[in-house]
Structure formats: C-alpha cells, structure tokens
C-alpha cells in the first residue's frame, strides 16, 4: 500500500462528467462573431506538376470571401525534423491529399461549393509508391530541393540523402563475431501497413487576425507551444504576436501535431479581416492527416542451441510518404530499440525513412514501436519454435535483467520484464491445457522510453483556500486529473478544491506537447514541485501568524494546525487573504524542471485466440497486459491507457489497413477503414508492475505509448500456436490465414 493519500488512488477524471454529458466544447464548437468557414482543396494526383489553378469561378460565387493558393501563403516550409512541407503546394503535388488551395466563405456549403469550382490543371509525373524503389540511388528524387531544407525542432536525429529523409545507424559489440559464434542464424522479413489513429474528433482550427496583426488561433493541437513556434517561423513573427489556445481534444494519439490547417486559416483571416474556421471531414482525416508509417523490417539473429542470442541485425524501412514529419524520428526509435527488451551484446541496427508519393506518416502512439516490435517478437517465437524452446523461456533467458543496460543507457535495477512476463503468461493460462482445438496462446514483450522537456506550472491559492492550477499541457489522457492529484497530495486538500486548466501560450508556462508518454511524467512532477513551493509559502505565513516554528505546523483539509494544540489553527483562505492584505504576498507556487532524463519501461502482453480454420477468422478469448509503469499515479487511468493502447494495437493486428489504390485511399471512412468496435474483443485484464523511476513524480514512468507495441505479435504468436501458421504481414486477415493454411497443407 502506498503511503499517499491521493496519488496512487483511482480518483475519477476531472473532466469525466462533462465529457459523458456531452458538455465539453471541442475545437469545432468554437464560434466567433462574423466567423467564416474554410475548406481546403486537396490534390487528386499522387505526383503532378501544377500547370494552372483557376480560382475565378470560385471567387465569383456569392458568399465567398477569399480563395488562396500556394501563391498567397508564406514560402517557408515547416516540419518537426525536416522543414520540407509547404503550407500549400507551390508547383508540384506530392500525394493525393496534398493541400492545393483553400477558401473562406460565409457558410460551409458555400466554401465546399467554391472548392469544387476551382480548376486545377495537372501534368502527371511518375509516382513512387515503394520505398525500396525510392531509396535506390538512381530513383527520381521527389523533393529535388531536399538539400536546402532547414532543420526542425528535433535537431539531432539522423542524416538524409535524396529520397531518404532519415537514416539512423547504431552498432554495439562485434556483430560479426557474434554471428560467427552462433549455432544457428535466423532471418525473417516482416511488413506492416499504414494505419490511422482513428481519433473521433477531427482536426479543427480557428484563426483570428486583429487589425493590428495580432494573431489568435484556437486549435485541437496536442501542443500549443510547438504550434506557436511553427506559426512564428512560417509567418516570421515574434512569438508574442501569436496566441495559441488549445481546445479540448477528442483524441489525437500523435495525429494532431503538424499544423495542417492553422497557417491557411491565418492567411484567410488576414485577407478577410474575419475569424476563419476549418474543420476536417472524416475523409480529409483519412487521406490528408498523419497516420502510422508502413514498415518493412528485416531481422537477423544468431543464437546458441540453448536459445542465448549472440548477435542481431535489424534493418527498418519506413515509408515516409510525401513529407518527413516525424518519420525520421520513428525510424530512429525503431532502430535504436531494435534489439527489443533483450540483453544482446552484439548488434547492428539501421533505420530508414523514405519519401514516396503517399500520404505522409506522422507520429502515431509510440512512433516506430509497433512496427519493429511486431518483427522482433514474431521472430523471437519463430526462433523458439525452431530450437524447441518455450517462447516464455526464450524471453526470460534473454530478457534484460538486473545489471543489464537498456538501450537508453539506464541500468536495470530489478527484473521488471520477468515480472511482466510471468504475469502475462499466468493471465492467459500459459502451459495449461486448452479448452478446444485451434486455440492458441501468444506472448509478446516490448520496451519503450518516454521523453522529457523543460517545463513549468503554477498553483495559485484562491481567497477561499481552494487552488487553481494552470498547466501548459493539453489533456488528452487524463493528465489534468493526475496534476490535480499531485497538488491535492502535497497541499493535503480534497480533489474538489483543485481546479486545473490548460492555459494558452500567453498564460501558461512552457510545457511539452502531449506525446512521448511524458505529460504525467513531466507535468505531474512540475505539479508536485509547484505544490510543494505553494506549501512552503503558506507555512511561512502561517508560522508568522500563529507565532510558532514551521516544524510545529501540520496542513490538512484546508487548514494549518499547530500540532498538539487543536484550537490553534488557520484556514488556507484566511492565510491567503492576510498574506495579501498585510504582506502583499500572493501565494503562487511555481514548479519547474529541466528536461528530465527519460524513464525506461518494459511490458508483456498475452492473448488466447481461437482460429476458425474454415473461415480464417480469429476470435480472441483472453487478453492480458502487464506493464511496468513505475508508479500508478491513478490506477484506473493507467488501466485505461493499457486497455486503449492494446485495443489500438489489436485493431492494427487484425483489421486496420489504409488501403491505397494508385496513391488514393480506398477506404476513407470508418465504415471501410475498420477500427474495432466494443463488441469485437473481450475485456482486457491488466496487471501493473511498479518499479519506481528515479525522476518521475512519486516514481511514475510513462504509460501512454508502450501498450500499443506488443499486441500484433502477441496475436500472431497465438495464431501460430493455434494452427501452426505464421503471418508476417499485418493485418492478420482471414484471407491470409487461410492462404497460409493451404500452403502448409500443400507442403
């Protein structure tokens, strides 16, 4: 049991009531007087030169206030890693879905109609759809000015050349020697398709440019500070001229970082002098947002007969699509973690991210992780099978243990992988007799690390002793609840006395964007520090007023008491008011921290499935996720993250696939792009392992991303266990299973 009062407890999310009641205001709910509706025209060609854009008919349509093309927008390009993406296509379109023009009109219908009146003359160019072709030295270069592109905010990551927009390489030990010491060498290739985050709320942005030029933007962004930096860069303005207000966010999973709409809204608002709003349709989302990169993984492992891994080589090729976005980061992450959660002394890992004429990938939950984990963990089972070793044993044997060093350079203190493996195995009845034929069990493990950024947060005590917290972090995951919990814990206040608001870029201190499993980790810590600072200030005033030493005081339930003298006490409200009146002291606590070192997380998941050998359909009977989360700040929230991540991973395992037909997304709706529904899977049992981190608040680590890594391999392994066929290309569809069964029967 934890010694804490509020953290570590499953308190309900502070926003739960409003969300469930439909009262929450999301991006598209912003309504401003005189606001115009904007629509984007997207390219219909995968790769073409723009010969002419005729906007005359659109401009003449009554109710149309402005039409813009690449000529009207800043010439600068944006990008988190490589600044390769124009606000609107300049002379070429690079994928079906590239932004070509935009309209602002009195109504959405008029804007839609105007967009359809814009005539674009294209001259088609040969398209590149296969990254393996695109990375060949003689391939046509999609971005011919690639060398002149600037660097985005992630500076360090990788090098590039032509169509290769990201290349990272790591090597340790002596791979050649390792392979020569192996009794057997296994080589496999795995592929994963493009999949979409499937957030329910589409991107929405509203911009208002004052006559003075001051810009205000409301956005569904995951990071208002990053968005402000992007806009300041594009429009060459000081940051103080731009205010970004993050709205409530209806899901993002990494998909709401790039400024897809905001720059066009700003330009349109500047031209019309009126606020302009753009909301993407579901179709827009499916063709022109930032899904997960398709991946091709080649993996080679040398092993001793007893299963000890002597060397590994992994090459990951991610299909970047038209722009780099976070792709080079995903390729980096996939490569740097390419050994999996195993102690492998000799290894070589290489990650490529390659331009093609497809929708650009972005950063979907654990960018790079699900692709490489599917490969590593399927491969581990294939090795175990060939050596006649139990899949659980081979993982326990090679898994990172006490004293080993993880890929982020952290020494492992205790055997978290072992704990999660045992729990996941036990949860799905590993080794027990199966209830029927064609049933199988599969395990998969994974590792991940979170990030950190310099950040801060403030806590203000109100006149009645309640606390108001302003954070710069966007609450996509329940993080404002965790922030409130940390403040409640430190100030010994009830949760109901704490209000947490997400501030805009002018009112909040810097915070990282909501991603990288880092908000509870970073901002939870900032909240803890800010509340401690607040507490110090309160105690100082209270000690003075009560005339006792601070050590004699205790703070509880909105009161400060003198220990042992129960009648001597002051309320926080009274302390706050007198501090203001007599000392001119405002009780405002600030917590800030430099970028914390990342935490290292390991996990294991298990599944029991049944395969219908006639239809090829997979029915899941049991799912277990066991994760080391450091410390569960809010166990219900953690459980929600584990289940949500696992479900998304299962969707990618079994059904999700952005199907491209000559570069055109064939299934741009939730009817045809299949994300799992509530009736498709059984409930997921979760088992939390807590090995405190050094730097996280109360020992917490990150939890958002890790759970999406193992599901596909867990299912693939369970399918293999059930019917003896290994599917190496996601999703694991009935067709593929039947085909594999037929091949197996033929041989």
């Amino acid at each position: 049991m934890s010694e804490y009062r509020v953290v570590g407890k499953s308190v309900p999310r502070v926003d739960a009531r409003d969300k469930v009641a439909g009262k929450c205001l999301f991006g598209a709910d912003i309504k401003l007087p005189g606001m115009l509706q904007g629509r984007m025209l997207y390219s219909t060609r995968p790769h073409a030169r723009i010969l002419n854009i005729d906007t005359a008919r659109a401009e003449r349509l009554p109710g149309v206030r402005a039409v813009i093309t690449g000529k009207d927008v800043p010439r600068r390009r944006f990008g988190t890693i490589v600044q390769d993406e124009p606000v609107m296509a300049l002379d070429k379109v690079l994928f079906v879905g590239d932004r070509v023009a935009a309209v602002a009109a009195d109504s959405l219908d008029t804007a839609e109609e105007a967009v359809s009146l814009i005539k674009v003359e294209y001259k088609d160019l040969p398209s590149l759809f296969d990254p393996r072709e695109a990375m060949k030295p003689n391939a046509k270069v999609i971005h011919k000015d690639w060398e002149s592109y600037g660097k985005g905010r992630f500076r360090t990551i990788s090098d590039r050349a032509g169509n290769i927009c990201g290349h990272s390489e790591f090597s340790m030990g002596d791979p050649e020697k390792g392979f020569s010491e192996a009794d057997m060498i296994f080589e496999d290739e795995y592929t994963t398709p493009m999949v979409h985050q499937g957030y329910i709320e589409p991107h929405a942005a509203t911009a208002m440019v004052e006559p003075s030029g001051q810009i205000t933007v409301w956005s569904t962004t995951q990071g208002q500070f990053e968005l402000r930096a992007d806009l300041a860069g594009l429009f060459e303005l000081p940051m103080s001229r731009i205010k970004v207000i993050p709205t409530e966010i209806g899901g993002a999973f990494g998909g709401k970082i790039a400024p897809l709409l905001e720059p066009a809204c700003v330009v349109l608002s500047r031209m019309t002098g009126r606020p302009v709003q753009m909301v993407m349709s579901r179709r827009d989302e499916q063709i022109a947002a930032r899904p997960r990169h398709p991946g091709l993984m080649r993996i080679k492992t040398g092993v001793k007969k007893d299963g000890t891994i002597t060397a590994r080589e992994v090459v990951i090729i991610l299909d970047s699509g038209a722009y780099a976005d976070f792709g080079p980061g995903a390729a980096y992450a996939a490569a740097v973690g390419g050994r999996g959660p195993y102690a492998i002394a000799n290894a070589r890992m290489e990650g490529f991210c390659v331009y093609t004429n497809k929708p650009s990938g972005g950063s979907y939950r654990a960018p790079g992780g699900p692709q490489v984990t599917f490969a590593i963990e399927s491969h581990m089972d294939a090795i175990a099978e060939a050596l006649g070793i139990d899949p659980l044993e081979i993982r326990l044997k090679n898994g990172l243990k006490e004293g080993d060093i993880s890929y982020i350079g952290k020494r492992i203190e205790r055997g978290a992988l072992r704990d999660t493996l045992h729990r996941a195995a036990e949860g799905i009845g590993w080794g027990e007799p199966k209830e029927g034929p064609n049933r199988g069990r599969g395990l998969a493990s994974a590792q991940w690390s979170n990030g950190g950024a310099a950040a801060g947060l403030t806590v203000k005590i109100n006149d009645d002793g309640t606390a108001s917290v302003v954070t710069g972090s966007v609450d996509a995951t329940g993080s404002n609840t965790v922030i409130a919990q940390a403040v409640a814990e430190e100030l010994n206040l009830p949760m109901s006395s704490i209000q947490v608001v997400t501030g805009d870029t002018d009112t909040a201190l810097n915070a990282p964007l909501t991603g990288g499993s880092m908000i509870a980790y970073n901002m939870g810590k900032a909240a803890m520090l800010a509340a401690q600072d607040t507490r110090r200030q309160i105690m100082e005033v209270a000690a003075e007023r009560l005339g006792v030493e601070q050590e004699k005081l205790r703070m509880e339930n909105g009161q400060v008491w003198v220990k042992g003298e129960e009648d001597k006490r002051l309320s926080l409200g009274s302390i706050t008011r007198t501090a203001q009146r007599f000392r001119g002291t405002l009780i405002v606590g600030k917590g800030s921290l430099p970028a914390p070192a990342p935490a290292f997380m390991m996990c294991s998941q298990g599944a029991e499935v049944e395969v219908d050998t006639q239809t090829g359909q997979v029915v899941i009977h049991k799912l277990v996720a066991s994760h080391d989360v450091g410390f569960a700040l809010n166990p219900d929230s953690v459980e929600g993250q584990l289940q949500g991540g696992m479900v998304q991973g299962l969707g990618a395992a079994l059904m999700e696939d952005v199907r491209l037909n000559n570069g055109n997304v064939e299934n741009p709706s939730f009817k045809d792009y299949k994300i799992p529904t509530a009736v498709d899977f059984p409930s997921i049992e979760t088992s939390i392992v807590e090995q405190n981190s050094e730097e996280g608040p109360y020992g917490a680590k990150g939890v958002g991303e890790t759970p999406i890594n193992p599901p596909a391999a867990a299912i693939a392994n369970a399918v293999y266990d059930a019917v003896g066929v290994r599917i190496t290309d996601l999703p694991i569809t009935p067709e593929k299973i039947l085909e594999a069964l037929r091949e197996k029967a033929d041989t």
Binding site: D109, R283, Q617, L654, N662, E666, K671, T677, V679
Partner: protein, 335 residues
C-alpha cells in the same frame, strides 16, 4: 460543391399521395425511407434527385401484422429496429429477426427501413466514393462512363448487392407489393432483383415498394442466415448465405420445394442456388449431402475485386457458409 445537393422535400401522408407525387416527378424524384444509404450517395453525388419523396409520414407503411393463415405482412417503412422488436417476428420468424439484427450497427438499424434494405443500391469500391475521390479516374458504367475499373474491358457493371434481409426473405418465399398511380402488382422477392449492377431492382420510377409478405412458417421447416464480416457490428457482408430446409423424422423432407439456398454479396443480386432442393430432398442431413450443394453454389458465383474480402476468399467461403447455413437451418427446423 455543397455538402448536400439541393432538392425539394415532400412528405406525403398516404400511399395515394405518394403514387401521385411519383407520377408527377418521375425520374427527377427519389424515394427516401431511412436515408441511411441514400443520403450518403447524395453527398457523394452518386444520386442528385431534384425531389425527395419521404415515406416516413405515409400512414400504415410501418405496420407489421401476422395472421396464422396468410402469414406476415410488413410495411416497407418499418425500421429494422422495430422489426427486431416485433412480437410475431420474434416468435414466428426468429431467423428474420436475427438477419435484421446483422444489418450495420444499432444506430443504422434505428432509422434504416426494410424497404430501403431491399431496394439498397449495389456497391463497389470505385463507386461508393466521394466525388473528389472519383475525380482521379474516368467515370465507370455506373457513374455514366464507359469503362469498369474492376474488370478491365468489361461492358457491364459488377457492383454488389449486399442487403442482409433479402436472402432470408427470399428463402422464406416472400413477395413484395409495388404500388403506383395505376394500381399495384405483387411479385416474388426474387423477381425484384434484376441482377444488373447499374439498376439492381425492378421498381419502376413511378412505383414504390409498399409491402413485404411472408407465408406462415411451414411445419418442419427451418431457416437461417449466416453472414461473414470482419467486425461484429457496422460491416456490410463479405458474403452471406440464407437457407431453408424442411425436416421430417431426422432426415431432409422429400419435397424439393422445401429447400432454398440463397447467396448474398457475391453478385449484383442475391442468387438462389439452382437445384438445391433436388440435391437435398430426402437425404440424411449430413456433410455429404450438404457438400454437393456447397460445391454447386461455389461454381455458380464469380465475385470480383470490388468490395471487402478478395474474390478468391469470398468464393472460397461460399461452400463453407452454405454448409453452415444449412446446418443451422436444419437445427432450427428440428427444434
């Protein structure tokens, strides 16, 4: 382009009014029932009627009656949700209830109607797309062009009919009533389907489907509909099979008319497997008997690459689902 094309909306209160509006506007009008399919195709500019004639206020068009002698009569505008809650259907036609429950999702069933489900347009990857999407290719037969993107060089359209209630109703021998200003005609449900991907049903522009009737369940008969899909909600069928069998003393009944096998979502209409009755009548309800029908069924369809599920897979699933459906129907008959 506006999200929705402009149209004039009419909400007639009676069947007669509906008929006269239809004869007045003819080809310029479309009937709208639940709108769950039509409104999407209007947004996608697959359909741009100037007049929409709604069936939702037509008196009596959502009635469900059951009579021991004459059987079941359902108004065309009954919603699938109320169909699944209707006592005579739950009681006497549980397989119809089950099939209706397999349409789309709960939200869809709440507004979708039986008539709309039967008159559902055929579907294709290249057709059910936004106007924007279709711009990157020349129009195909179904959008007024001269090519087919699915079967190169084809002069015809292979769009797929995938309404989930039609096969089971056909298996049960349902008839439909078509009304117009000139009167009414009753045809078998099978005759409603033309098999033409472009114009999948025989409802004339001046007509509307007013009633669906099903004979009372015969003693010893059982029906079932099995539907294959990736997700248990929302999804259209990858393919489906309805079957009707008659049992007597643990064996299949001796009259070939007691049997029917209908394949769904493998062509432009639900197709009945010819000779199923002869192959099954009088046999022991075992795999061997079912296998023959299953293989004939498989040979009779030629699915194309235009919906979810590869053609090879859908074809491979025909015999599997035929056997499932027959087995389920036999079990229903015996219980």
């Amino acid at each position: 382009m506006r999200r929705m094309p402009r149209f004039e909306y009419h909400a007639p209160a009676s069947a007669g009014e509906t008929a006269s509006l239809l004869s007045e506007y003819g080809d310029a009008a479309r009937l709208i029932a639940g709108g769950t399919d039509l409104l999407i195709s209007m947004k996608q500019r697959l359909s741009t009627p100037e007049h929409l004639i709604s069936l939702s206020s037509v008196t009596g068009l959502d009635a469900v009656d059951y009579d021991e002698k004459t059987g079941l009569r359902m108004g065309a505008a009954v919603t699938l949700a109320s169909l699944t809650q209707s006592p005579p259907i739950k009681d006497k036609y549980p397989a119809l209830e089950a099939a209706a429950r397999k349409v789309g999702s709960v939200q869809v069933r709440n507004i979708a109607t039986l008539g709309g489900n039967l008159c559902l347009d055929t579907r294709c990857w290249y057709y059910n797309q936004s106007d924007y999407w279709r711009q990157s290719r020349p129009p195909c037969h179904k959008t007024g062009g001269e090519v087919c993107h699915v079967v190169e060089g084809s002069k015809r359209c292979f769009a797929v009919y995938s309404g989930d209630t039609a096969p089971i109703l056909m298996a049960m021998g349902a008839e439909v009533k078509l009304m117009s200003g000139g009167g009414e005609r009753v045809i078998s449900l099978g005759e409603l389907f033309t098999g033409d991907g472009l114009r999948p049903n025989a409802v004339e522009p001046h007509e509307f489907l007013s009633e669906i009737s099903v004979p009372p369940p015969a003693a010893g008969s059982g029906v079932a509909y099995v539907k294959l899909r990736l997700r248990e909600e929302v999804d259209f069928p990858i393919m489906g099979v309805a079957a009707r069998v008659t049992m007597s003393d643990g064996a299949f009944g001796s009259a070939p008319q007691g049997f029917k096998v209908v394949l769904n979502a493998v062509g432009s209409a639900p197709v009945e497997v010819e000779g199923a009755g002869e192959m099954l009548a009088g046999k022991a309800p075992e795999q061997a008997a079912l296998e023959e029908v299953a293989q004939v069924a498989r040979a009779s369809v030629h699915p194309q690459a235009n919906t979810a599920g590869t053609p090879e897979y859908r074809r491979m699933m025909v015999p599997v689902l035929v056997k499932h459906a027959l087995t389920e129907a036999a079990a229903a008959a015996s219980s």
